[in-house]
């Protein structure tokens, strides 16, 4: 049986002393965190990353964060930010779910050691995370959401290379290479980002003098594309531009192939990605789509990125990986211009003052205007090649 012993004066004193030390430590830690800055005293500069390694688009989500991790390694190894400053990614899973990602964005914003965050493949998720960043006055760099007008300085920036100008350029390139007089559009109509991508295709074809034969709509919930393919073929166009999310666009291209459509199909960047070609090789072979980064054609910094990525993950980086890389690289480029302590405010100011980056993985300088990165000169028409699904520069059938 344990005896009941009254507390002695010395025991009480030791407890009080311990509590005092703990309180002082907490106060000191709190004081250190108050500034919301890092990097000046040897600590790594912390960047929050809301990742999507699970959830509906985890396939693409993994690629984004893989690219970001390679960027972090190369920036740290090459002392890109100067003065031995190191970058640390604080990753939290958001599953590309708006509610979950907003919650994670709030957690990252509450941590005063984190000076900026990066995230978001879907525009709906970006729309949920952006207001939190603005309210907390913490820079947020969007690496993938492509709805128009999402960049909103001084706190919300976007480094994703936008698909709209790429689609417009692809339309022009295809008309220059193939004998196309008319075009029909297949558009997933319940996604505003996709609709704006389709409008870019329309603009490109229209500017090239191609006759618009009409549009057939699909939805994100469409389960069978045979009906839409039937309507599209009935429009009797020389070309069909298929614009949708990955599964939607690939499903419709497969249905057009099954129905025997023999015209030119073009599509957007969404049909790229790990595993996509293997799911519908016959239908996807030779379908042109635009990319900004093509590993096999990369030189200099792009080639270094491609080599490091392949060594780490066993496959070539695609456009999504490049976008993950560019989000971190742009932040590091802004940090390099900061002389003193890196805080949320100084980083926001530095991002706002950034006008462009001369050397990038795209092989061309990129502009950074109104919080949006642009690299239109880097757009390349590419397609899958059989039998392995390697993405290579698109070869028009006329050649």
């Amino acid at each position: 049986m344990r005896a009941l012993v009254p507390h002695t004066r010395s025991a009480r004193g030791r407890r009080r002393a311990a509590l005092g030390v703990m309180a002082a430590s907490a106060l000191a830690l709190s004081a250190c965190a108050q500034g919301g800055g890092s990097g000046s005293g040897g600590d790594a500069i912390q960047i929050g990353a809301i990742v999507a390694e699970t959830g509906p688009i985890a396939g693409a989500g993994k690629t984004f964060i893989h690219g970001a991790r390679i960027a972090q390694e190369q920036i740290n190894d090459g002392d890109l930010m100067g003065g031995g400053r190191q970058l640390e990614l604080v990753e939290k899973e958001g599953s590309e779910d708006p509610a979950k990602s907003a919650s994670v964005a709030a957690q990252l914003a509450a941590d005063q050691n984190i000076v900026a965050s990066t995230c978001c493949i879907l525009s709906t998720v970006a729309g949920a995370a952006a207001p939190i960043a603005e309210k907390q006055e913490m820079p947020l760099v969007l690496w993938g959401a492509t709805d128009l007008d999402l960049a909103s300085p001084p706190y919300v920036y976007r480094t994703v290379t936008m698909p709209q100008p790429a689609n417009e350029k692809l339309a022009t390139d295809v008309v220059d290479s193939e004998d196309i007089e008319s075009v029909a559009y297949a558009v997933m109509t319940d996604n505003s980002g996709i609709v704006s991508q389709a409008e870019a295709f329309e603009q490109g074809f229209s500017d090239a003098g191609v006759d618009n034969k009409g549009q057939v709509g699909t939805l994100s919930t469409t389960t069978n594309f045979t009906s839409a393919a039937t309507d599209l073929i009935n429009l009797d166009a020389d070309a069909i531009a298929v614009v949708g999310t990955q599964s939607n666009a690939v499903g419709l291209i497969a249905a057009l192939d099954d129905k025997g459509y023999d015209g030119q199909i073009v599509s957007g960047q969404t049909i790229s990605g790990s595993g996509v070609f293997d799911s519908q090789p016959r239908a996807l072979e030779g379908v042109p789509f635009p990319v900004y980064f093509l590993a096999s054609e990369a030189t200099g910094m792009g080639a270094d990125f491609a080599d490091a990525y392949e060594a780490e993950y066993g496959e070539e980086p695609d456009d999504f990986a490049a976008q993950g890389y560019m989000a971190i690289y742009t932040l590091a480029t802004a940090i390099e211009t900061i002389d003193g302590e890196v805080t949320r405010q100084s980083l926001s100011d530095a991002l706002g003052a950034l006008e462009g980056i001369d050397e990038t993985i795209y092989g061309t300088p990129v502009a950074f205007e109104d919080g949006q990165l642009t690299a239109e000169s880097a757009v390349k028409p590419v397609s899958y090649t059989a039998p392995d699904g390697v993405i290579a520069p698109w070869e028009p059938a006329a050649n």
């Binding site: 699970t54 959830g55 509906p56 688009i57 985890a58 396939g59 989500g61 993994k62 109509t189 319940d190 057939v216 709509g217 699909t218 939805l219 919930t221 469409t222 389960t223 069978n224 594309f225 045979t226 009906s227 839409a228 039937t230 309507d231 009935n234 990955q246 599964s247 690939v250 499903g251 497969a254 249905a255 099954d258 129905k259 025997g260 990605g273 790990s274 595993g275 996509v276 293997d278 799911s279 519908q280 090789p281 016959r282």
Partner: protein
Amino acid sequence: MLLLEQIINGVCTGAVYALFAVGFSIVFSTMQILNLAQGVYATGAALVTYFATSSYGLPFWAAAVVGIVAGGLIAVLVDQVAFEPLRRRGVSLLGAVIASIGMWIAIREVASISTAATPVGYPPDSVPRGRISIGGLELLQTQVLALVCAVVVITATYLLLHRTNLGAAIRAVGYDKRSAQIAGINPQVMIIGAAMLSGAVTGLAGILLASGQSFNFHLGDTLLLQGFAAVVLGGMGDIRGAALGGVLIGVFQVLSGSYISASYQDAITFGLVLVVLLWRPTGILGTASFQRA
């Protein structure tokens, strides 16, 4: 001609919905469970078929049989893990719905991991993907396959449940478990049998839906809403009603998308379901209330 072609497209799409709805209906009529995990049976069967063809080189037909069996086994697993403990405790319909949501999320995550969340598709030339010309109409072999499978399987399921002693026993458990037990029927065996049958039929729907396109671990989710609407439209707990509801939903969807607007096709389709339910609250062929099959 285009109208006729689109009606046929709708019937073929509806045939897959019908199969899914029949699987859904079997569970509801025998166990009184609104099973929101039903979609993962379709996903699981399609993925097992995919792995059997791509990783083990099985011909599509053999792989489909393996997939159908897998769909049935997943359904039995869900029933025994999630629903059986609730049945023993006499938990209400709501408890089973919540349990089914848990199983839905858990199994979908397994499916996501197994495919690395990337799209997959049956290997080229493993599935019949050609076209068949009938009187100037061009049908896809996958459409004909879906239609034939739906007619054969739904008819066989109906005959099994309504013309055999086994079917009578399963239905008896659905009507009154205790009375069936007194009559010498083992309710546990019948419930497992019904779950297996339901999972197999739903699995076939998933395999057929996946046969003409690339798919991912969300495959069954897209079928869930259409299948549930088909069951409600045709009549809860009635195999024929579920099949009819599935075909009608398919035709409504295709025609409204083709002739009115794709943007509103779901609104139009489910609006029509609402109108039918206002006219016949038990569904077109249903005679029972929602609470009782």
